[in-house]
């Protein structure tokens, strides 16, 4: 069974290395301030204990006040998985650090989130729209696209 690491043991490992990097956790989700995201991900990958060498998925959810980015990652060696969440504030131009240099698998997924949700990832190799054409107005997956937010 793929063990999903709970908040305590993740926090114990990560906060020990990077001060103030864990905002809060509940169950198996760990919230990280958006500034620390890149560091936490890099640490999660390189730390022999965690060894998160496989990024499963990056999902973006639009909660009207903020965007939430959910990073599912797992370790093939230790067969356990971890969920890191972070909040991006601001609706005009939410930006967050890209994790492509940690896992190359994040390349297309971040481009898709940029394309459909409008979150720009800093120092991403070629951040262009992936599914829609270049001149497409707006970002369709946002809640306020084409109809007022519910």
């Amino acid at each position: 069974m793929t063990v999903s690491l709970t908040g305590e043991d993740v926090q114990a490992r990560v906060v020990g290395a990077i001060q103030g990097s864990i905002e809060s956790w509940n169950g198996s989700d760990v919230w990280v301030p958006s500034g620390f995201l890149h560091e936490v991900c890099k640490f999660a990958k390189e730390d022999p204990e965690l060894g998160m060498d496989f990024l499963v998925a990056i999902s973006a959810v639009d909660y009207i006040e903020y965007f939430e980015l959910v990073y599912h990652m797992q370790s093939i060696v230790h067969n356990h998985k971890m969920i890191v969440k972070t909040k991006c504030w601001g609706r005009e131009n939410p930006t967050i650090a890209s994790v492509v240099d940690v896992w190359r698998g994040a390349d297309l997924q971040e481009r898709e989130i940029y394309d459909l949700m409008g979150i720009t990832f800093t120092d991403h190799p070629n951040l262009k729209r992936i599914l829609l054409w270049e001149g497409f107005p707006g970002h369709p997956h946002r809640k306020d696209y084409l109809e007022p937010p519910r």
Partner: protein
């Protein structure tokens, strides 16, 4: 005096006989050698994730059929499992057995399509493709008996399956399980030893296990590179822990390994289905979940080992009858991240064959 040559850019365009759907590769060639390439997709983007936010949880099942239109049973299974995880529902045993049987049959059908079209790209004029499709038709007949449709099944519901299998389904299934191994031996005899296939696919489009893991590749492509990661073994869901089967692994990670993976996985799926048929017990087929299921507020991510790789659904619920957000982790899209490593340096014909062996499905890439 060096010969003045210049690279030529060619659109292996959305409309091309062997791009497996509307998929475009803007490739710069130096003679026949691929210098640089850039995949372009989005031609089949139907906004399934946005549509899912407009439909109730049970209606989204019909949406998931059209994601990977060659393996719509495992799409249903992945979606329905994540809704059950969100709603905290456990389907009865017989439903889980029926789901595993249909998911494994769907894996065989999808691998048949992948192998058939791989040989079509290699140039064997239609013969292996027709043999693979002849067997796939028998699986589609089985599915027609089971759920009335041949491609878009919508067979699974939250909490189980919508109806039990009819009597004639089991008879036809036993007959199919009896014949299929003989047909797979025929494919092996026709293809695996074929010298031309060997020279064309061995050491072509090699993907090392480090790059595969780094680019979060999943499915037969990952296992062909030697990484031992099959969700049915590593994180057994439904009733896979009650069934013993093997997971084939490759050694080099080239096209030939990926072809061998699919042929071997077909045999293992047959083993799984015949074991399920033995172990299945009678009982209800659907947990009593209301049609308008309202899962509690929260989110859940669940994944399934589909024929193309790990297909996952990340569902966020705000307590309403429709999902607040339904993110689809599509294996074909992510398997394309390493496409540059495999293709650059190879020739035009290798590029077509490697694209065929990665086995992408544009319905799943563009969603």
């Amino acid at each position: 005096m060096p010969i003045r040559t210049e690279p030529v850019t060619v659109n292996i365009g959305p409309q091309h006989p062997s791009t497996h759907g509307v998929f475009r590769l803007r490739v710069t060639f130096d003679g026949e050698v691929v210098q640089d390439l850039e995949p372009v997709f989005g031609y089949l983007h139907r906004g399934s994730e946005k549509l899912a936010e407009e439909r109730t949880y049970s209606q989204v099942v019909t949406l998931t059929d059209r994601l990977d239109y060659v393996a719509s049973m495992s799409n249903n299974l992945a979606y329905v499992r994540s809704v059950e995880k969100l709603a905290g529902v456990r389907p009865p045993d017989r439903a889980m057995y029926l789901r595993v049987i249909s998911a494994e049959l769907q894996r065989i059908a999808s691998h048949l399509v992948a192998t058939g079209f791989l040989l079509q790209d290699l140039g064997a004029f239609g013969t292996p493709l027709m043999y693979c499709f002849r067997e796939r038709e028998r699986i589609l007949d089985l599915f027609e008996m089971l759920c009335g449709a041949r491609v878009t099944f919508s067979y699974m519901r939250v909490g189980g399956v919508f109806q039990d299998a009819p009597g004639e389904f089991w008879i036809a299934l036993d007959k199919f399980l009896g014949d299929m191994p003989h047909y797979i031996d025929e494919y092996e005899q026709l293809l695996s030893g074929n010298e031309i296939l060997l020279t064309r696919t061995k050491d072509v489009g090699v993907l090392t296990s480090e790059t595969a893991m780094d680019c979060s590749i999943t499915g037969p492509v990952l296992r062909a590179s030697g990484v031992d990661w099959d969700l049915r073994k590593v994180d057994p869901y439904e009733i896979y822990d009650r069934i013993d089967f093997d997971v084939p692994l490759g050694t080099v990670g080239d096209n030939y390994d990926r072809y061998l993976m699919r042929i071997e996985e077909m045999r293992q799926s047959l083993r799984i289905v015949s074991e399920c048929v033995k172990q299945i017990s009678s009982g209800p087929v659907k947990a009593d979940v209301p049609w308008l299921v309202r899962p509690p507020v929260g989110d859940a991510y669940d994944h399934v080992e589909g024929p193309k790789g790990e297909l996952g659904f990340y569902l966020v619920s705000d307590g309403g009858i429709a999902p607040y957000r339904c993110k689809i982790r599509s294996p074909s899209l992510i398997n394309l991240t390493a496409v540059k490593d495999m293709l650059v340096g190879g020739k035009l014909s290798d590029m077509i064959v490697t694209m065929g062996s990665i086995d992408i499905n544009m319905g799943e890439v563009d969603r």
